[in-house]
């Protein structure tokens, strides 16, 4: 069962990589929701804080990586809206 959680965490974490690459290459952010990435980046930041305080390395590391890629998308959305 832990393996399913591990694969789930891996997929939801790496999923933001192709989106980040896409906005960097195309700078096309018209279809991307500023509301979504504002809420999402704030939420992932709180997951990092939560993972740090409860000392859960899986939550901490997965969310630091997600925070990085989702922040790239948010930054491009703000710059190229």
């Amino acid at each position: 069962m832990e393996n399913i959680g591990f694969i789930a965490a891996f997929l939801t974490t790496v999923s933001f990589v192709p989106q980040a690459i896409m906005v960097i290459k195309t700078k096309d952010t018209k279809g991307i929701s500023l509301g979504m990435y504002s809420l999402f980046v704030a939420g992932v930041f709180l997951w990092v804080v939560y993972g740090y305080f409860i000392q859960d390395m899986a939550i901490l590391i997965a969310n630091i990586i997600t925070f990085g890629f989702a922040s790239i998308v948010l930054a491009y959305k703000i710059k190229y809206k």
Copy 2:
């Protein structure tokens, strides 16, 4: 500390609502990555399976909701690419 986890889960779950509304209204999915939503929806589905098997209601419910909204974005991306 649990409150931070609760707020984090709430934010990352509801963040997909504005994106789903946006694609429904505009049908503009050009800037949205098919790779991202394919990996993400698959990952969230596994989170639902994981939450069900470990009987964690927070993981289960948050991911069922996220699965619904992220699936809408994926479906529109496939239909209006």
